[in-house]
């Protein structure tokens, strides 16, 4: 097989099956080249051992957590698996990692560790291939790297977020179980490692991360808000580059495991921050930028739009379920303990129908109303190359779904905040006694449970929710202006959606501060 004939197909924009990409709102935001500003960071990410060094400690903690899940105490609040993963990690992920460092979790994620190790046959080095000797040696050559496993291409029909959407919704349906039962958490997390490993043996590179991992789905969506991005420095340099090491790989590094063409990447969604492109670029043209919050503003397909719907629905449902006063709903969700199957099916039906049908339909109505309201009679003479007077409904819908990204993310941060403030004092306890076996490694095992500033929590939640609404309205309006040009029409088109967003905001506020 000729290496040149087997260069991986990049996940070019738009995702397969989606509509033509609408132009982004005109924007010239600032960027700070972090690798230039921080030479030690550049030195670090250029090392071949960089990713291994961040994954390994995480993997070892993960193995320890799985062990505690099976052999430690069944008491959730005293088992490090539950406390660290579902209280500490979740909060850190949604509130700090994603907004401040995009998909940095994917850089250190232990799920694909074993699969990638087998697939690459290496933990640190890159298995670059001399094109002349491509046929020699074991494994399959993809681009200019050699891989073990079957290296099938991921099916085109599944090259989107739908598997992740359904998988995430499925897992969240059983959240009442894995949030409290260490064994269920072990099954979920261990199962993900197993699935990742098997898929790495069957499919190319990080097909699991890109298309299957349920965590990756929402990271993909919310990483659009992040203040960090991996991008090329100069578009011209990439255009002139014939080597395409970032895509094809080589001696210095692996071709983008996420099927991206890094030099043309314009969104964070499918960049796992593995830094391979930074290593492989022969012109040192890839870098890590600091940028304003919410810099990626395009939703490119219905799969991404539905991810946004699912996430907002879940934030709302979880707020009702876990922070609300309706204990019977929690009992419905907790079917294996309470045994109320009728209630559980009502809960499942409610959750799935709300997330997949009801909320998207409710959201579509104001989009459609605004679209109709702002319609103008098309001119009798059509000038070639000029944008249509009335944007297509699908484009309008996708653009107006974007406000749900900052809105949903802030809703999730608001939801997660009380979890960490109220239950955070369990963290030092389980650090000292991770298994609940009576250890006291750091002298903190017997600290009393003490919620942190519980009286301030609602105020912070309100602030965060209002921030989310602010960014949602701002970005929605910018999209509207980009589509309609005239402010009057843009306002007309976006006003119904803005009203709906405000109503949802009020629902969250009522739930959090009554």
């Amino acid at each position: 097989m000729s290496p040149s004939g087997n260069i991986p197909q990049p996940l070019t924009e738009p995702a397969p099956g989606s509509a033509a990409p609408p132009p982004a709102p005109v924007d010239k935001p600032w960027r700070i080249d972090l690798l230039r500003a921080l030479p030690p960071l550049k030195w670090l990410v250029k090392r071949r051992w960089f990713q291994f060094a961040v994954v390994l400690p995480n993997l070892l903690f993960f193995m320890l957590f799985l062990t505690t899940g099976v052999f430690g105490t069944p008491v959730g609040s005293r088992n490090i698996l539950i406390v660290f993963v579902w209280i500490f990690w979740w909060f850190l992920l949604i509130s700090a990692m994603v907004p401040l460092a995009s998909r940095v979790w994917c850089t250190m994620c232990p799920f694909p560790f074993f699969g990638e190790w087998i697939q690459r046959g290496a933990l640190i080095r890159s298995r670059g291939v001399d094109p002349k000797k491509a046929k020699e040696g074991p494994g399959v050559v993809v681009g200019r790297n050699r891989y073990f496993g079957l290296n099938w291409r991921w099916p085109k029909a599944l090259s989107n977020l739908w598997v992740q959407n359904i998988g995430f919704l499925f897992l969240c349906t059983f959240s009442a179980h894995f949030l409290t039962r260490p064994l269920v958490s072990v099954i979920v997390l261990g199962g993900l490692i197993l699935v990742a490993t098997v898929l790495h043996l069957l499919y190319r590179q990080r097909a699991f991360c890109n298309y299957v991992c349920p965590v990756s789905g929402f990271l993909s969506l919310y990483s659009m808000t992040s203040v960090v991005e991996v991008r090329s420095k100069e578009a011209d340099t990439c255009a002139k580059c014939k080597d395409k090491g970032c895509l094809a790989g080589g001696e210095k590094g692996w071709g983008c495991p996420w099927f991206m063409y890094p030099s043309k990447m314009e969104r964070n969604n499918y960049c796992g921050l593995c830094m391979e492109c930074v290593k492989t670029c022969p012109y040192d043209n890839m870098t890590v930028n600091l940028r304003p919050f919410c810099s990626d503003t395009k939703i490119k397909g219905l799969d991404e739009a539905w991810k946004a719907f699912i996430m907002v629905t879940l934030a709302l449902v979880y707020s009702v379920l876990y922070l609300g006063p309706w204990g019977f709903l929690k009992d419905w969700a907790n079917v294996f303990e309470k045994g109320n199957w009728a209630g559980f099916f009502a809960y499942v039906a409610g959750l799935w129908v709300s997330a997949l049908v009801l909320f998207p339909a409710i959201y579509f109505l104001p989009v459609w109303a605004g679209w109709r309201w702002s319609r103008q009679k098309p001119p009798t003479i059509v000038i070639l190359g000029q944008a249509p007077v009335n944007p297509p409904l699908k484009e309008t819908f996708l653009r107006f779904v974007y406000p749900l990204v900052p809105f949903g993310m802030m809703a999730w941060v608001s939801f997660s905040l009380p979890l960490i403030l109220v239950n955070g004092s369990y963290i030092p306890m389980v650090l000292s006694d991770p298994f609940g076996w009576g250890w006291d490694l750091f002298g903190t095992a017997h600290l009393a449970w003490s919620p942190v500033v519980p009286h301030w929590t609602p105020y912070v939640q309100v602030f965060l929710l209002l921030q989310g609404l602010y960014f949602a309205l701002k970005q929605g309006y910018r999209h509207s202006v980009a589509m309609y040009g005239a402010r009057n029409r843009a306002l007309k088109a976006f006003a119904p959606v803005a009203v709906l967003l405000t109503v949802i905001e009020i629902a969250f506020l009522v739930l959090y501060v009554g």
Binding site: F61, L64, F71, A122, I124, L183, V186, G438, W439
Partner: protein, 319 residues
Amino acid sequence: MRETMAEIGAGLLTLAGIIAATFYPFVYEAKSVEKRLPPGAQVITLTGVAATGTWTEENVDGGNYWYRHFAPARPVLRVGQPTLLRLKSADVNHSFYCPGLAVGPLEVHPGHVLDVLITPIREGVFEFYCTTICGDPHFGMRGQMLVLREGSPIPAAEPAKADKFWQESPPPPGQSHVARGAWLFHRNGCFTCHGVKGKGGVPNWNYIKDTIPPLSTLAERMLIPDKEGADAIVGAMERAADLKTLSSDPPFARFNAFLAQYQSVKDVIRKGNPPGKKDPKGLPPPLEMLPFGMRLSDRDIDDLIAYLLTLEPWEGGDK
């Protein structure tokens, strides 16, 4: 070559790390327990499981708690041999109390381990209890510790009775008040202290009367003179009649005194009644009439009393 060495090093580091993260905690645990043990001591771990009201010696962990039924503990200690009792809770707050060996009452919090070192000085069979209401099965949460002389054989255990009283289904609606009272008596675990059919006789450490008094003689103690009188009261209760309305044509002498007794029995059930100590300086009795006012409604208490009134073995009547 350098790359290959780094690769091998990374692989070995990964495998060693995984093995260490997975297995070292067990080694550490074994060593840390060993450190606390005096020479020749044994370790007995008792874990409280609220779901079945059990103190068990079996290992209860995140992997098996959800599906396994844990056997009740029957720990064996030896006279003169130090024993480290490791008390754990797998779910909620329990209290461990073994008055015969002067252990407790000790609060056992979920996810914490309470270590107690004891050295029994005399042989015997010692009851232990949970003395914090930890759920519906709480009232059956007790067991026996055997203290034997060194070398004595361990007597065979009686087969454990699997009475899951807390799971008993409620009687169908419309059943008699007495039948409902019988169900409540069983469902709430009253029989665990008051004995089957209220016959009493359950020993209670340092209790002024030594054993829990029977309830089967409650009718007599409530000043009901005979079976006819009891039947009249139960009959009225079955008709859901207000007992005070019988005052106009009392079914037996001293009926008003009975009414006062009735109220005081209700109060005891509702508010509880701490047991008197035989030795005022001794340990508190483990079994106590707890307030059931939060668990039982007024109607529940009436039904319970109606049932208890039927238990009296009247002379010449059916026993």
